[in-house]
């Protein structure tokens, strides 16, 4: 199962990544359903117009690639999460009935108008919509690409979307995935991305995995650079209130000497995260608790 969030700063950057993903799925023989904002004919869409790949243009003609614009999606699903799930399920079944061995779904950045002040209910609804893909993928050969264009979304939508996709994110300069029971960020974690990283970490903490575990194990082996802002994100998220079922603490693995020095410095300058009577919510593996 693959349900990836592709984050890009601008539409132009987003198009490049999405086009590559769609082309890859088409080449692998998948039926691709693409949902976006362009309410124009496939012949003029950026994915299949004169800027698009020959494969994508041919796929439109053969029916391997289908477009649906967001206004039509909302109309078809009645604007409800349940309606959206039925629409997606129907698409999957139809594709399989047509003889395609695998289904791929991609959707553009939705321009979701989330309110910045209180995003609890809206975030929950977004998470429910995204989990619909995961439920489908448990039963069917489905791969999903969700797109998040930072220029097009407000901060609340960026946070909620990143939180919901913590299991598989490809962001600007960093990524994250789940592997062998650990949450594995990779790349550069710095002040420019610390907010989104914190949102993804929050999602991972609330969803530590199918195994019942009080700990979220985070492997930093593939993180090439981590600054004060990212180190602070670990501390800030570790002490946040969490819903029942969330992991109780974060255990960091694969930390380098400079990262350990940084975390120790923050502990010294900003104080410990807990009193001595409570278990520490953030631990570096291999050090005393």
């Amino acid at each position: 199962m693959s349900h990836t969030l592709l984050v890009a700063a601008t539409d132009h950057a987003q198009h490049a990544g999405a086009a590559a993903w769609v082309d890859h799925e088409l080449a692998a023989g998948a039926k691709v359903y693409y949902k976006g904002w362009a309410a124009v004919s496939p012949e003029t869409h950026w994915l299949t117009g004169h800027e698009g790949s020959r494969r994508a243009r041919a796929a439109v003609g053969s029916g391997q690639l289908e477009f649906l614009d967001f206004p039509t999606v909302i109309e078809l699903c009645g604007g409800t999460t349940e309606g959206l799930w039925r629409l997606q399920a129907d698409e999957v079944e139809r594709g399989l009935d047509e003889g395609w061995g695998r289904i791929a779904m991609a959707q553009e950045s939705p321009h979701r108008p989330m309110s910045d002040g209180d995003d609890g209910d809206e975030a929950a609804e977004l998470a429910a919509q995204e989990s619909g893909y995961d439920r489908l993928a448990e039963r069917r050969p489905l791969r999903v690409l969700c797109q998040l264009t930072l220029d097009e979304e407000n901060p609340a939508a960026v946070r909620a979307t990143t939180t919901a996709h913590h299991r598989d994110i490809v962001d600007v300069g960093w990524s994250a995935r789940v592997e062998a029971g650990r949450w594995c960020p990779a790349g550069v974690l710095d002040v420019a991305v610390a907010g989104r990283f914190a949102a993804a970490l929050r999602g991972a903490l609330r969803d530590p995995g199918p195994a019942i575990s009080p700990e979220l194990h985070v492997d930093l082996t593939e993180v090439g650079f981590l600054d004060v802002a990212a180190a602070r994100a670990f501390r800030d998220v570790a002490v946040e209130r969490r819903p029942p079922g969330a992991a109780l603490r974060i255990v960091l693995h694969g930390t380098g000497p400079v990262t350990r020095r940084l975390l120790g410095a923050l502990e010294t300058f900003e104080g410990p995260l807990t009193t001595t009577a409570e278990p520490a919510p953030l631990v570096v593996a291999g050090t005393a608790p």
């Binding site: 710095d190 600054d227 004060v228 000497p257 400079v258 940084l262 300058f269």
Partner: protein, 293 residues
């Protein structure tokens, strides 16, 4: 007694004019030779001859260096020279004579402070000597040395003035800039770090030291962006390197907002570097970071 290996000892010795450097420093030189230390004399010819003659035949084991060349091509050359006198597995005593040095007073002051900052982990004993009645040499020696040799004893110097946090040292004393780059916002820091990492490698820093140096420059740049406030003007990074030492100056336009009294914005920077400071002017703030290998 010879200090433990790996620790710099930087001391001053004031001697009577009538006795001269040789008489005042001989006990220290003898003790160093007896302990198996290497000894370098950075003194005038007459003093070198006197010391060698007094120590014969061991006087031939002494290395004599030309004091007039010690600060060529610039003051940082002396720091490099001191590094070259480090002998693996041994301690080195460097005996310097103020009156023999051909150096600008400001440059001399810079080097005296820099020795403690960038050579602290080397097995060197640097003993600087000056006549007690020399003016202004004696005052300068008292100002720059935390410890003074008094006969066989080493005593704390109450007149020592530690290197100030807001240094007036000219950054050009660290040599020509090997990197100069402007950056506008946090998104520019990624490319900047790649360039800084290359400079760090060229400077001879490696491993954890190199990683910490790059992170220190990054955090200084983040601090500069914050200091700039609403100004859209670019910040600037300049890096100068000499002999496994990296001096970085990040300039932020605008007037800085004072930090809260309990807050030390340089705390983390100091942990990642040898030292860090902020120097303010009317129209800009300069964050300085010194990293050494």
């Amino acid at each position: 007694m010879t200090p433990a290996a790996g620790a710099l000892e930087h001391r001053g010795l004031l001697h009577d004019s009538s006795d001269g450097v040789a008489a005042a420093a001989l006990p220290t030189v003898r003790a160093a030779l007896a302990a198996g230390d290497a000894v370098v004399l950075l003194v005038d010819r007459r003093t070198a001859h006197e010391i060698r003659a007094a120590l014969e035949p061991d006087g031939n084991d002494l290395v004599v260096a030309a004091p007039t060349e010690a600060f060529r091509p610039d003051p940082t050359g002396f720091l490099h020279l001191l590094r070259t006198w480090v002998v693996p597995g041994r301690r080195t005593l460097v005996l310097g004579q103020y009156s023999a040095l051909d150096v600008d007073p400001d440059d001399h002051a810079f080097v005296e402070d820099a020795i403690d900052l960038v050579l602290a982990d080397l097995p060197l004993t640097v003993l600087c000597t000056c006549a007690r009645d020399a003016d202004p040499g004696a005052d300068r020696l008292r100002r720059h040395h935390r410890l003074l040799q008094d006969g066989d004893a080493v005593v704390a110097n109450p007149d020592h003035q530690p290197c100030p946090d807001r240094s007036p040292v000219r950054s050009a004393l660290w040599g020509p800039a090997v990197l100069r780059a402007d950056f506008r916002d946090l998104a520019d820091l990624r490319d900047l770090r790649v360039r800084v990492a290359a400079v760090t490698a060229d400077a001879g820093l490696a491993g954890e030291t190199a990683d910490a140096a790059v992170l220190a420059v990054h955090e200084a740049a983040v601090m500069a962006c914050a200091m700039r406030g609403d100004t859209a003007a670019d910040c600037t990074v300049e890096i100068r390197t000499v002999d496994r030492t990296m001096f970085t100056e990040v300039t932020a336009p605008g007037v800085s907002v004072p930090a809260p009294p309990d807050d030390d914005p340089l705390a983390v920077l100091r942990l990642l570097s040898r030292t860090a400071s902020v120097e303010g002017a009317d129209s800009e703030q300069r964050i300085r970071v010194l990293s050494t290998g």
